[in-house]
Amino acid sequence: MRARIERLLDRLIHASAMERIAVSLAALFASIIVGAVLVFVSGGFASCRTGLDLAGWTFCYNPIQVYYELFLGALGHPLEGGWSPTNFNLATTLQQTTLLIFTGLSVAVAFRAGLFNIGTQGQLVVGALATAVTVVYAAAIVPGGFVGTVVLIPIGVLAGAVFGGLFGAIPGALKAYADANEVITTIMLNFVAVGITSTLLSWRFQDPDSSNPQTEPIPEYAEIPNLPFGFGGTMDFSTLALAFAVLLMIGIAWLLARTSFGYELRTSGVQPQAAAYGGVDDKRMVVSSMTLSGALGGIGGAFWVLMVHGRWLENVPDLGFDGIAVSILAGNNPLGVGASAFLFGILESGSQSIGTATDVPPELVGVLSGLIILFVAMPEFFRMIGARYLHVEPDEPVWADGGGTDDGGETDA
């Protein structure tokens, strides 16, 4: 029995890329079956006017319709007539994907450095406010029109990155120089971020023309243009932004794999003592990797302002927290973050689609999303755990002269 499990694990660990994709698809399919049963049965306990009558019970929800909306609704119903690629639902999906790539990368970079950054949310909130305020003030001294677009957007993104980075550097410095656990400090700094931004807002940056807690709007020409495809003005998505996110993703992957800094970061993440031996200044590495992580979160905030709302609002969505799940699902591999963020984008947008097209309560839709993430993440999780387990067990005696079992648990090895 144990030997069989070990063989299975071994098979899973050495699966090729194609096999892993096939496994993920199978997991997705399995989650749909389980979820469908759940939806169907739940329908039996709901009350509705029309439903499927079976043996005296009325089943209100149609699982096929629910999943149809979840997946195809997220793309704007491509199988129905009159479909255009630039539709509202697809725009929502891709908008979420774009923002989650930034926050997912933020969490992933910290993870690879051996740090658990739960503070991406706070870094995003701070970066977003910095972006909005900087752009609003800079707009006063920068000419409008095309020049304004070209100047203000980079300034805005830079402001988000700088302030997000600085806010991320705080827990980094606290860990490096005061030995404060980054999990605790980043969680607490999320509250600090909310407090600081709302104080700053009421102190100076509140939009005088509005009773809602929000900043003045940035000029329309400072919003990220809907290029090169025309997702209309209300859709709040720009292909250009997505392209930037994807490029940044590739850039981070390159940074980790090819540069001295990336090498030192990964070494610190898996074996801090070996990093110190190899001449890495551990304190500086903690601060710089947290700064990079915070900057990525801040860029996420910048795009949230520049692409979605055109201003900073007090109720910032939980993009930073979702970034943790995105990163874990991607095995903390920067290149995996894209696919992982897209899945989260679909679930987000598809949930809205279910809400408008069916009577299924949002709580149940949340359960379906959760099931999908759980099922898709599990094979990767078992790969991670399995690699560790198999290293510890039968391989161990091979190190005839003593071997540690220190294993980074990387999934992209």
Partner: protein, 554 residues
């Protein structure tokens, strides 16, 4: 097969007496009673034949040593016997019955137990809990663990084999030697008649090794059979009744330790003649490369562990530091290599004061360092050898250009190290964790020696390395010395520091108690110095400044 029931068994070199072996064949049915017979075992891994038609016959009630270099196939063969690997060819016969073990569980059921070098114990649990784990006797219809029975059975075992282990003690509080006895007890508790010990002495102090030998003796007297894996000649000749030598996956033969010499055994292992002692030519000293002035280091608990050490290492000189582990040599080395800041004193390297330099700056200035702990420091276990090949050089101009690592040239460099230092398997894409300890060490040594250093700080450079490679590493160290590199050598192997060093410093409780010419001191005197006692007053060692003048203390 040799009849182990007669006479004494002497260590080939030193004539140490082993207890008499009268009860060795306690099974009573004479010399032909084989507890284990591995017949023509062949085990292949992709690209290598780890065991090529190996034959092993182990008599009941004897200690059988399996001797060979790193990668000779010793552990693979034992993993076949323990059910971890399934052989491609050959038969496994235990107690006269042919067996096919699918897993260690099957092997345990057949009375074969294995004690790994790395103990599989849960630190926070008690000895009794660890021993019974997975085999707990139950009471109340299987609802509760019968703790009294466990304790009773363990006490019985301890009495029977003369072990001094408290079943109620927490494992974390035990010494390494005691933990090893717990592992042995665990195997006995599961009914093992044949015990496989994988490099059992690697983690033990010399006293604990002696303790282990007496445990082995007791076990064989009670009819148990021991197979023990080692690459150390002295151990094999001392403790074993018979020795089977493996080389390159093939069995070279089985010998009687009383009828052979260490030199002969070494030749069997390596396949050629081996010089067990390095040949050191005295040479003139060059300039001072490294010097320390009154170094004081406190450890994490603010206890002073290095108390004012002065030393000088000249170009073209090997300064050896001998001492029992834990006398401050580790902290001294860390202060020199830049992993720790000394609390007082200065360090000068190549004429510049480097006390405040970072580790990075010291690497760049030409300090190579073979660390004591290769698993935590020397290698990143989950990285492949290419990535490990650049550890420490990741920012040097040779491999990194404008912050970008040139992986192609790193790969070339890594392949050179692998070839020159005979790292096996010769696969640059293998993860460091998959290599055996000796090969990991060879790789680190290669990486550090090929850094083109001015100073090599080598702590236990041959720990866990087989004799063929040890000889090679020693030769390379002497070559570096010829080239004018300064070498600071710390080793717990007395013969190593003594034969390689030009000058030998003895450290005790954070101070040098003597600096001497290694040729003028006997091993006994050295042992006494390491224990903090002065065997004679001939060096008048009131002050312990290590200067360039051989053997003189200021």
């Amino acid at each position: 097969m040799t009849d182990s029931g007669t006479g004494t068994i002497a260590d080939g070199g030193r004539g140490v007496e082993h207890g008499d072996g009268t009860a060795r064949t306690a099974g009573g049915d004479g010399g032909g009673d084989l507890a284990v017979h591995l017949d023509n075992i062949t085990k292949r891994f992709p690209g290598v034949v780890a065991n090529d038609r190996v034959d092993l016959r182990v008599e009941r009630g004897t200690v059988h040593a399996l001797l060979g270099e790193n990668g000779a196939g010793k552990t693979t063969l034992m993993n076949v016997l323990y059910g971890l690997y399934q052989p491609e060819g050959g038969r496994v016969v235990v107690d006269g019955q042919e067996r096919a073990f699918d897993s260690p569980r099957d092997a345990i059921d057949a009375g074969v137990g294995m004690i790994h070098q790395h103990f599989m114990l849960v630190d926070t649990m008690t000895v009794a809990e660890n021993i019974a784990l997975g085999n707990e006797p139950r009471k109340w219809f299987g609802l509760a663990v019968d703790r009294e029975r466990i304790d009773r059975e363990i006490r019985d075992l301890c009495d029977r084999y003369g072990f001094d282990v408290d079943p109620g003690a927490t494992v974390a509080d035990l010494s390494v030697g005691a933990q090893q006895r717990v592992e042995i007890l665990k195997a006995l508790y599961r009914g093992a008649d044949v015990l496989i010990l994988d490099e059992p002495t690697a983690v033990l102090t010399p006293q604990e090794v002696e303790g282990l030998y007496s445990v082995l003796e007791e076990l064989t007297e009670q009819g148990k059979t021991i197979i023990f894996i080692t690459h150390k000649l002295g151990e094999a000749t001392h403790a074993a009744d018979e020795i089977t030598v493996l080389r390159d996956g093939e069995s070279v033969g089985t010998v009687d330790p009383t009828a052979t010499t260490q030199e002969e055994l070494a030749e069997y292992m390596v396949g050629r003649e081996v010089l067990l002692e390095a040949d050191v030519e005295p040479r003139e000293n060059g300039d001072v490369v490294l010097s320390t002035d009154d170094i004081v280091v406190e450890d994490e608990r603010e206890v002073e562990v290095v108390s004012g050490i002065d030393l000088e290492v000249h170009s073209g000189e090997i300064l050896g530091i001998a001492g029992v582990d834990g006398n401050g040599q580790g902290q001294l080395i860390e202060a020199i290599t830049g992993l720790r800041t000394p609390d007082e004193g200065t360090i000068t390297f190549d004429g510049e004061e480097v006390t405040d330099w970072s580790r990075r700056e010291r690497i760049d200035a030409g300090m190579a360092y073979i660390p004591e702990d290769r698993h935590e420091q020397g290698l990143v276990m989950s990285f492949d050898l290419v990535e490990n090949g650049v550890l420490g050089s990741q920012r040097s101009a040779e491999f990194a250009n404008g912050g970008r690592i040139d992986w192609a040239s790193v790969r070339d460099h890594t392949e050179d190290i692998i070839e020159t230092y005979d790292v096996r398997p010769p696969d640059a894409d293998a993860d460091a964790v998959s290599l055996s300890g000796g090969n990991q060490q060879k790789f680190i040594v290669g990486r550090e020696f090929e850094r083109d250093p001015d100073l090599v700080v080598a702590t236990h450079p041959t720990r866990g390395v087989d004799i063929g490679s040890t000889e090679f590493i020693h030769d390379r160290l002497l070559e570096l010395r010829e080239e004018g590199v300064a070498v600071l050598l710390v080793s717990s192997k007395l013969d190593e520091v003594q034969s390689l060093s030009d000058r030998l410093a003895v450290i005790y409780e954070g101070e040098f108690v003597d600096v001497t010419d290694p040729d003028e001191i006997t091993e006994e005197e050295l042992g006494l110095l390491m224990a903090g006692e002065h065997p004679s007053e001939r060096h008048e060692p009131t002050d312990t400044v290590a200067t360039g003048d051989r053997g003189d203390a200021e």
